[in-house]
């Protein structure tokens, strides 16, 4: 009797290890919705498509797709234990016939056009718009620092933090902080709005770093990885810095501006823990 139970248990174990992965295979659909985008840059309208996957991943593609677009296939997902967990049919659906307009917030250099940079311009313009901010801080506000950073340095990122520091006249400064993410078909959504008064030593450090860098030039170093955007409107000079960590690793000249980023990000994360939410 004991032997029978033992053999039965061994059989169940061997069967589970051999065929268990196929038994659990669960055929479902993985849906991606897309819609038309008009990217307005320098009086030119560029045609794009915005894709939003069911897990909130979003990305842009040049040109337009008609509603019959069905590129896909079947995706077999494999977990950390090297087991096939799910098989999903990849499906694409046009979500609306309406066209969304996104205004380019950046200075596009038509003489030296860079496709990767242009794509980051589009993505950041899209996110800035969702944070309800105006494109151009130069025209509207004095002595302002804006920082928009992704929560991941590499791979697809859906979570961004947005920090704005208004430098006052009386050696004081206020920091405003927002967080936004995309977790489903609804796309990018903004949560929370926190404010704090910067400490004197924090402001002193920021000023010291800003005086040490040349704020006259826009600095772009976006690939590889996910860049962050640091806009400075300091001493009546406006500059944009779009820099990724993995680009900075090979370009140490950007060290000073990266330290400004580290400092402001550090203050924001220490106080509001936005990227850990």
């Amino acid at each position: 009797m004991k032997n029978k139970i033992l053999y039965t248990l061994i059989f169940i174990l061997v069967y589970t290890l051999t065929y268990g992965q196929s038994i659990n295979l669960n055929d479902t659909e993985y849906l991606t919705k897309f819609r038309d985008i008009a990217f307005v840059a320098n009086d030119t309208v560029l045609k794009y498509t915005l894709f939003i996957e069911q897990n909130g991943d979003f990305y842009f593609s040049k040109g337009r797709l008609d509603s019959s677009y069905t590129e896909g296939g079947v995706m077999y997902w494999i977990n950390d234990k090297r087991q096939t967990t799910t098989a999903q049919q990849l499906k694409y659906v046009k979500s609306t016939s309406e066209v969304d307009t996104i205004i380019n917030c950046f200075v596009t250099n038509t003489d030296n056009y860079d496709e990767k940079l242009n794509l980051e311009f589009l993505k950041f313009s899209y996110i800035i718009e969702h944070f309800g901010e105006s494109c151009n801080i130069e025209a509207s506000e004095k002595e302002v620092i804006r920082l928009l950073y992704p929560c991941k340095d590499i791979n697809q990122v859906n979570e961004y933090c947005y920090v704005k520091i208004k430098l006052g006249d009386n050696n004081n400064a206020e920091l405003y902080s927002w967080f936004g993410n995309s977790i489903n078909f609804d796309g990018f959504k903004v949560f929370g709005n926190n404010t704090l008064q910067l400490k004197k030593r924090e402001l002193k450090k920021i000023n010291k770093l800003l005086y040490a860098i040349n704020t006259n030039n826009n600095k772009y170093c976006v690939s590889p990885g996910n860049p962050w955007l640091l806009e400075l409107n300091f001493n009546r000079v406006y500059s944009q810095n779009l820099i990724s960590y993995y680009c900075f690793r090979t370009n140490k000249e950007l060290g000073k501006i990266v330290k400004v980023y580290y400092l402001i990000r550090g203050i924001n994360e220490r106080n509001f823990n936005t990227c850990s939410k």
Binding site: G72, R82, Q83, N155, K259, Y262
Partner: protein, 265 residues
């Protein structure tokens, strides 16, 4: 640093218990150990921050936004902190012994210093490696995982493109087609008599996370191993798209820089 100072002070007091005749000497030995502990911790944290691109002093003060992670970073910062703390301890304890001149103090400092560097390096390396692994990074380098599409080419090598580049608008359909792994006329792909197809997984990718097959070509009994994956196609399949990840330090050419990575605190 305060904790390191207290531990250093207490340990030095215990190690020199036989040399203490009065309260003043005890206090001095505690002070030397505390100073050595604080110096060791401060230098270790400062070097750790400096490796990550922050200022040394931000690391010492504990205000740095980033820290370096992985065995290599931990080894360097642990060795630096261990040497500094060991040197301070050896120098200070030698100064307490009557008859020792400055040369004896430096000799003792150096002796304690290199031993501290070895112990600090190994301990720091292991702690750095554990820190990296707990954040889904490479134990040795602290490198992040990068999602990739990998093509297994005809000589068995992997050709990679990052998943974000693959999906980006500047990647043309021709580019995406290039990163398909061909199942025919590919020596890295074999088919047995039962129709089971085996694809060699190249070293350039650390893990396969998904296999994308064209429409209407289901794959049966998909098995993924360390070095290969196998399946039985129900219909004729010409290609697959393999999704996976690699550590960003996993490159064909060695670079000293690829030993050191950071993470946000």
């Amino acid at each position: 640093m305060a904790i390191a100072a207290d531990i250093g002070g207490t340990m030095n007091l215990a190690m020199n218990a036989n040399n203490i005749d009065n309260f003043g000497q005890g206090l001095a030995y505690y002070g030397i150990g505390a100073a050595a502990g604080a110096i060791g911790a401060g230098v270790g944290m400062g070097v750790n921050a400096a490796i990550a691109g922050e200022s040394f002093w931000a690391g010492v003060a504990g205000t740095s936004t980033v820290v370096s992670t992985g065995f290599a970073s931990g080894f360097v910062s642990g060795a630096a902190g261990g040497f500094a703390g060991g040197f301070a301890s050896g120098f200070g304890n030698a100064a307490m012994e009557p008859g020792n001149d400055l040369g004896d103090m430096f000799k003792s400092g150096w002796d304690y210093g290199w031993k501290g560097a070895v112990i600090g390096g190994v301990a720091g390396g292991i702690m750095g490696g554990i820190d990296a692994a707990s954040h889904d990074r490479n134990f040795w380098t602290g490198a992040d995982r990068q999602d990739v599409i990998v093509k297994v080419n005809t000589i068995g090598d992997g050709e990679l493109i990052s998943a974000t580049d693959y999906n980006a608008d500047y990647s043309t359909q021709a580019t995406r087609d290039h990163y398909r792994t061909a199942l025919n006329d590919n020596p890295s792909v074999t088919t047995n008599l039962d129709g089971q197809v085996t694809v060699k997984i190249p070293n350039e990718v650390n893990r396969i996370t998904g296999v994308q097959a064209p429409n209407n070509t289901p794959l049966m009994n998909l098995q993924v191993g360390r070095n290969s994956l196998s399946f039985t196609p129900l219909d004729r399949t010409n290609y697959l798209i393999l999704h996976g990840w690699r550590y960003t330090s996993n490159t064909n050419s060695f670079s000293f820089q690829n030993l050191f990575y950071l993470r946000y605190r």
